[in-house]
Symmetry: C3
Subunit: 342 residues, 3 copies
């Protein structure tokens, strides 16, 4: 399928890396250390895989200077092999070119403004007051609601919905099924029934953010919900209204942040972790998978909640004891007191 | 953008509130206490924000009688300021008027019945035997499957899918990506493989319910899955087949209810909380975020499970001890017995 | 609505079951023991419902030989009544016949290959290099991306998105909102920002798999994400890149599996359970609801984590003690040491 080809020496030059071995070798793809063939490039960044280096059949391996001596094939030497590999691998990605212009099946309101260099796919719907900037690509079935803006070079892969008052920065990548700008969940209880609070804010997504498949980001009640630049959200994440996420923070699949929480910069939120509403989380905080943040976190560091997995019968006995843990602690205190009284 | 304007005295009259201060002041929007300007209305319902009242620049503030004296601007006095604010704020919401009729790009089966006062947006698909009642609004990309009914004045914001045998009451609001009436997850294990159980029931959603973005509600295996009136579901909630949710119950984002569970009226289910299958939860039960309901709950009250968040190193030590909690309890019992034997 | 009818004796013959009682009785539907009427078939497979047998008004009941004597109506005797019922009930499912051919509103690329016996619904988009095989049915709003294949007799109910390099086997059933083949979440941290790793692999789904509503399955980074045959996924499940799921494994709603984890055959993963990345789970492992798999599991069996639900005040006291559990254990050790020293 591929006709993309680079010499090892060309890759070294392009990414300012040193190379060892056969610089003339032709590379036409990438692969794992164990799976790559002689025309493919691989990488070693995790020492767990060091043993695979000896037997790799890859044409060239990206690795750090410590590993060069053990490399049986050509090598590209990088300070951070994983980052260097990420840049190189991008050369070998086949993204079908998106044709400029609007597919005939798309429905574009007369009050919408779509750049001539944007690409609007089949069955897209662009509503009044929406703006799609230069080079933006909308795959099939995207909906850009009223007063939404898709920034330059952004890409909505397919079936993305921007409801209303959503602004995407430049180079934002949104995966299928994501819903951005839906109503925040705001309710007032009036004696015996709920009254809905209108959600009058919007959503602002910074440059270079990525939003995963089926992720939902609600618009603010009064002010906006905000993701600063380079925020990376995996699939099925829920961001409630008026949340603020600092730049370069990444969240793994199924994480959820409740209303008006403020997450710092450079945080890492683990899979299915949760943050309660109105809390603040400092910069450079890591939350491990499935933990629930129940109070504000003022200091960088790693935080956890939850219980380790055990064989079910053993776990049942321990879990049953948890229900009386306070009593157990009191009994220990009593024993200590007895001891002292002796 | 807005040209909606009310005098303070008009708002007081319309919502039967007392006003203090300048009744002639013109209000054209709403905002937070700290952000609202002189032509905007704000509210004080949470005493945490009392300090902001002194310095607010809002044109008028909705508050209760205790706070009137501290209000530096016009005031609207309400028994429940949050509820009063919800009603007033709705006046300032700009919902683009939905045109009556069927968009030319929509696909409506000849056997479907669509009211002349309904609005069917671009690329909607209405299948045979479906009914869309008076004043219902379907945004772009909605699918109304066979034998589904969308009740009067209901609104499917965009890209909502009703699969089959789904009945929505009146004034139901459904957000993008929601799937209602998908197959329940019913399987029988036949020696070495799974056999699917056909899902022959439907879904009934009561009047005034709200269903969040990317929420899924499966149809029943034999009987229907039911949400009574005024049930409020946030985003990414999963309701399995044959679940029954009582009136006025609200669930926060990512909650999940397993098959045939029966949740009472006026319950509050926290974010990412879960309810196991076939359980019953009484009326007026609150489940805190991320808790798992593992047994039926017979009495109103607040219920929780889970572990508090801690710094990771500290947490690891405690979590490791949990694996031997039963043994620890036995050791305490032994010490107590020794004591008694002394 | 139904005109599907079978005599009890016909059902017995068709499914090789013994019958007792009136073989001439006409059956035109199925129902629960408590709800079925005289022309409906019901079943008893769970002894919890035995008491309902005495008063059932069903025309015939599928049950095992032990229960025949207690059955007040005609009976079909099966080794596994639930499996037999699953097969019989399928006769009474009304799936609207899908017309062969491509709906005029669908957009099919010239480079796509669609079988003449396939059915492509309204607003579907089939991209270049995609293949739809014999008898496959795509409901409205499905997207089949470049280099995706929909196997023979597979059914995409509605609004399913296959992004790229996705291969579905035969008879695969995918529910609305599912996204298969979205980018895996691969990022390298380059000093002060994220660099995306291109996701160059695909997804392979085996024969007879079922994928729930709004479930997401990412494509692999280099190799493929794989579901072997007869894997059953409920709604809102997240399968990350390069996960491998063994044949006949079933996962309940909202479960999530992180990158490169390998799940065995015949596993049962409970609702909202999680598996961390790069772990291995043996065959025939059951994980209970909301548990987090934090280490590889080498042996078949049932595994759990988590804490039982309690009334909130009681829970708070116990949870507070958990934060000092390590210290408590040390105090118990000290008491034991004192005892020994005595």
């Amino acid at each position: 399928m591929s006709t993309i080809q680079y010499r090892v020496s060309e890759l070294a030059k392009r990414f300012s890396l040193e190379f060892k071995g056969d610089g003339e070798r032709i590379i036409d793809g990438v692969g794992t250390l164990s799976g790559a063939g002689p025309s493919q490039l691989s990488f070693l960044s995790n020492s767990k895989y060091s043993a695979q280096l000896a037997t790799t059949r890859a044409g060239v391996v990206v690795l750090n200077s410590d590993a060069v001596a053990s490399c049986p094939t050509a090598a590209l030497v990088a300070r951070d092999p994983y980052v260097a590999y990420a840049h190189i691998a991008a050369l070998f990605e086949h993204l079908p070119a998106a044709p400029h212009g609007i597919h005939p099946s798309a429905v574009v309101a007369t009050g919408a403004r779509v750049s001539a260099t944007a690409s609007i796919g089949p069955c897209c719907v662009i509503e009044d007051g929406a703006v799609v900037e230069d080079g933006a690509v909308l795959g099939p079935h995207c909906i850009v609601g009223s007063h939404c803006t898709v920034g330059a070079q952004s890409r909505l892969v397919a079936r993305v919905t921007l409801v209303t008052r959503v602004t995407l920065g430049k180079r934002v990548l949104v995966h299928p099924g994501a819903v951005i700008g839906s109503d925040g969940f705001g309710l007032a209880f009036d004696r015996d029934h709920w009254v809905k609070l209108p959600q009058l804010g919007g959503v602002r997504i910074g440059d270079d953010c990525e939003i995963g498949a089926n992720t939902t980001i609600d618009r603010g009640a009064l002010d906006d919900t905000v993701l600063e630049e380079d925020v990376r959200l995996d699939n099925q994440i829920q961001i409630a209204h008026n949340v603020h996420v600092g730049a370069h923070t990444a969240m793994a699949g199924c994480a959820a942040v409740a209303g008006s929480a403020k997450i710092g910069r450079y945080c890492m939120i683990g899979g299915n972790a949760g943050v309660l509403g109105h809390l603040e989380v400092a910069d450079r905080v890591t939350i491990t998978a499935k933990s629930l943040v129940t109070h504000s976190i003022r200091e960088a560091g790693e935080y956890s909640s939850g219980i380790p997995l055990q064989e079910n019968r053993q776990w049942r006995r321990n879990a049953a004891r948890f229900k009386h843990l306070d009593e157990l602690a009191r009994r220990v205190s009593a024993l200590e007191k007895d001891k002292t009284d002796d």
